[in-house]
């Protein structure tokens, strides 16, 4: 039985391994509910989304929102803006929240919910695949 299971596992692996699909061209906009942040550099963004930065410069609390791990916009944001890997961020969040040493960003289910939560929370930061139309939200320029 164990031998059979081993063979099945291998077969499944070979079946599933294959070239990944190419993704269409899309854009990601980093968005904040706050007017005093015009630009952030990549290092600051990494600190924010790794949950290392707790407060903005004026002392108000940073509240971080993200889309689910498998969402295309999330994957693109992590790869192209943060220059990290989605699985890496997920692991560091899980390690923080299950050891009591830190927090994880709040996960929203869609970009509509992301917009709504960003609007409702002063000091909130997130990202969208479209430039937000609401004037209370600001798109952040990113200094590389």
């Amino acid at each position: 039985m164990l031998r059979l299971a081993c063979h099945l596992l291998l077969a499944l692996l070979l079946f599933l391994a294959g070239p990944g699909r190419a993704e269409e061209e899309r854009y990601v906009f980093v968005v904040v509910n706050r007017d005093s942040v015009d630009a952030l550099d990549q290092k600051a963004l990494r600190a924010i989304f790794s949950m290392r930065l707790q407060n903005w410069e004026d002392g108000s609390k940073v509240r971080v929102f993200v889309l689910p791990d498998n969402d295309a916009t999330h994957r693109q944001f992590v790869r192209e803006i943060l220059r990290m890997y989605p699985h890496q961020l997920r692991r560091s969040w899980d390690r923080a929240i299950y050891s009591g040493m830190g927090e994880a960003p709040e996960v929203v289910s869609s970009e509509e919910e992301m917009t709504r939560r960003l609007l409702n929370n002063p000091g909130a930061i997130g990202y969208l695949s479209e430039d937000p139309r609401d004037e209370r939200l600001y798109t952040v320029a990113i200094n590389q």
Partner: protein
Amino acid sequence: MSGCIRLPLISNVRDAKVRLLHLGAAVGNCLRFSAPAGSVGLLALFIAAAPLAEEAEEREDGAQSWLSSAQYHGFLSQGYIKTDHNRFFGDSEKGSFEFTELGINGTLNPVSNLRVSAQLNYRRAGENSPEEISLDYGFVDYRFADDSERRMGLRLGRIKNPYGFYNETRDVAATRPSVLLPQSIYSDPLRDVWHSADSIGAYYYGFPAGLEFRFDSIYGRSDAIGETVARVRLPGYDADLDSRYIGLARMSVGSDVGSWKLAYTFGKTALDFSTSAPIHLQRGEVREAINLLSGEYLLEQWIFTAEYQQLETWSRAERVPAVLGTSESWYLQSAWLFRPKWRALLRFDQYRPDRDTGDLRTRDLSLGLRYDYDNHWMAAVEYHRVEGITWLSPADNMDVAELENDWQLLAAMVSYRF
């Protein structure tokens, strides 16, 4: 003891969250709950809390109170183990479900720079676990400095030990590279020995250009060390082991994007013991020292990991000369994330109880497959081809004469977390 815990009557979401966060303190006063009554209570709490988590956050939009900083999370995993010979986590030769992990935690910042965190835990691992609900961690964390360049502070309470790459969240299936951690270093039967301590901890994290430097340390005591050694190593005997102290320090350096990381862990502990076991050690002391090197290299679709440990054991008993021995453990592991939701694992793990002789060596070749359905659900299955018996638990295998040197193990697990 199960009368000690009363499930909160949840009248509203905020009320539930407050009660949840107070639970950690209540458990400390209550000592421990017996299973299964306690575990059913914890399970009910888990089921009640999971759907409330999102709703609670939604309602607190815009709230600026200290309570709005609160977060709570939990995990529930059920495993299955099948072996062709030898027992691992219960009667695995027939197929065992005695592999359950359940936890629920809360954290909040009542004032700036201060964090309070606690987690309740239930773990079933064959004959190796106490099968009680226990306070897994519960501590206060004060940060002296906290900005984008560095963070430093002190923790006080029951703290997870800074030990290697996986110890702090070893009960959370999603944070493990495999269903079973490499047993040479992260022994599941002896999980509680190096796992957590009632201690004071100091930490410093620095982020100089392009790098991430981390230092974590603890110093304290742990009653779980003696209880675990007595239960797993000396089943059926009267054994009394008292922890004198445990101290650990871990330093790590890596790139700030986390593409590589190197870590060194140093730890020491000492125990006083007296036992009725028919061995030459009746009463005396044991000291252990750990040196552990860890390394990781990460690509978009690959994670390569290696750890090497030497564990020095010095023991002395009445009327017997002191004994010194060093064990050696290491593993090489690669994970291949071949699709966004899928990953495969290949690992070679070796344990030598005495590094000076090749005797009693245990080698484990593991092959695994994992599927992450979403942020909450995952399932994993893995196959182990094992040669050797030295990391098997005597508590699960009371008849040593029946042990087979060549054996195979199949492990499967389904896990939910929020």
